[in-house]
Amino acid sequence: MSETVISADKLTKKFGDFIATNEISFEVKKGEIFGFLGANGAGKTTAIRMFCGLLLPSSGAATVAGFDVYRQTEKIKQNIGYMSQKFSLYEDLTVKENIRFYAGIYGMNRQSIKEKTVGLLKQLNLASEPNTLVKSLPLGWKQKLAFSVAIFHEPKVVFLDEPTGGVDPITRREFWNLIYQAAERGITIFVTTHYMDEAEYCNRVSIMVDGKIEALDTPRNLKKIFTAASMDEVFLQFARGAKRGE
């Protein structure tokens, strides 16, 4: 069995009386694409913030990239990548400056940043745009660049929070190609999405309802167990039962 990159054991976060994340337990392996689904308000963001070392749990245990979410949050931050639809790149910096900035924060040296930048720009068809301001790039390019920057330091795991919202259907698929390539290289992908077709692209999917993980399996098995034709139907069966909103 390959290396475990994320493990959670009864991980819980309470805000006063409100249990945002309620005893969630699972393991994610190296190179796995793990879909983290749930309706708005199910507790996904709270869980992700704990995994990223940004929020201390109330109880339970978890490690990310081998580090403890209570005691080694700085180590976690050095070994993960993060990207969301809302926060990705600095609009007023150029493509090259964004890469250098993020790589620098993760402690990469100048020489390796320089070498890797050339390869990345070529891969993204941005070879002629290193000095273009990010704000003038089309949204699809921005999101692909943001993902590449998030994994530029070769983290063990990358957290993607709705990375493809509002992106056109062709670019959305190009984005998923980048995800597959990263996973093949051994980077673990932890992704949330509202597009149910994207849930099908994950190796395994968890569905969170009202703070708890109510289902966790491969898309194929989930459809079999819940006799559904698509992940959309599986998701609806669960989320319809949700009691709480955002």
Binding site: A39, G41, N125
Partner: protein, 311 residues
């Protein structure tokens, strides 16, 4: 009479050197009582179009009429008879649910009581929280309140700019149920969305990309224009399958689509047997291969490729 008539609308932003064309010669009509979808990704021009039609933005050229009035010369008449729900939550966060609703009714010289019938089915869902500040509501409840506020003066045309963006699959379904009910009340509705799967819920849709309308028709007619055979293929190794199918010499296009990959062949005379032989030769197993009906997203991809998608 049409609810909306748009002729050759052009809108550009920015100084000459770095000019961006948000809307590039857009023309279409929306009939009275129609539920009309403007479908396209972020940056396609949806919001610019809605802002022009609600008289909040001036076009560079072209004309538009809403409910019989010109968007430039008769903008005041239009403002009295349209409802507008912007993409960004724009109610007063520090007013309660009920105060927001009363405020919007009052500025249109109306009252909650006068048009309560119209919003009742939606409002009863948030009425238990009527004393809560709007800023403290959940996303789904905010959306319902915003819809009530856009409806409380009984508009003849309703503009909803990306009401379901960032909303989970269940809440999206509920929202569309509400729109269907409103349509029965005779209100014309223009709704924009980046979710292709919502197109099927509209009477007609415009597929928009980079400021241009690529196609405009009923969802059924749009998908019927797709004349080639659409194959759906799956196997035990989906990523390798995608790469292999993209290398296949008779492949025109192949892309991931949920649990299957969608495949269009260059030459439709070849088919199942040839594909099977190719995949078995590459030792794929658990192969499933069937023909499917193309959907709106397939058509959108087809139209985008035709209009020379860069990269």
């Amino acid at each position: 009479m049409n609810s909306v008539t748009i002729e050759h609308i052009v809108k550009k932003y920015g100084a000459k050197k770095e000019q961006v064309t948000a809307l590039n010669d857009i023309s279409f009509e929306v009939a009275k009582g129609e539920l009309f979808g403007v479908i396209g990704p972020d940056g396609a021009g949806k919001t610019s179009l809605f802002r022009i039609l609600t008289t909040l933005l001036l076009a560079d050229s072209g004309t538009a009429m809403v409910d019989g009035f010109d968007v430039v010369k008769q903008y005041k008449n239009i403002r009295n008879r349209v409802g507008y729900m912007p993409g960004k939550f724009s109610l007063y966060q520090d007013l309660s649910v009920e105060e927001n609703l009363r405020f919007f009714a009052t500025i249109f010289n109306s009252s909650i009581k006068e048009n309560y019938e119209l919003i009742r089915d939606i409002y009863v869902q948030i009425e238990p929280f009527k004393d809560r500040r709007a800023g403290k509501l959940s996303g789904g409840m905010k959306q319902k309140l915003a819809l009530c506020c856009a409806l409380i003066h009984r508009p003849s045309v309703l503009f909803l700019d990306e009401p379901t963006t960032g909303v989970d699959a269940v809440s999206r379904k509920e929202f569309w149920e509400m729109l269907k009910a409103l349509k029965l009340q005779g209100i014309s509705i223009l709704v924009s969305t980046p979710y292709m799967d919502e197109a099927g819920l509209c009477d007609r849709v415009a597929l928009i990309q980079s400021g241009k309308i690529m196609s405009i028709d009923s969802p059924k007619n749009i998908t019927q224009k797709f004349t080639k055979t659409m194959w759906a293929v799956s196997s035990a190794e989906m990523y390798r399958l995608l790469n292999d199918l993209q290398q296949y010499n008779n492949t025109e296009k192949c892309y991931a689509f949920g649990e299957f990959h969608h495949l269009v062949l260059k030459n439709d005379n070849e088919g199942k047997d040839e594909i099977m032989i190719y995949l078995l030769y590459l030792s794929h197993h658990e192969i499933e291969l069937k023909t499917v009906q193309p959907n709106i997203e397939d058509c959108f991809i087809e139209l985008m490729s035709k209009s020379n998608h860069q990269q």
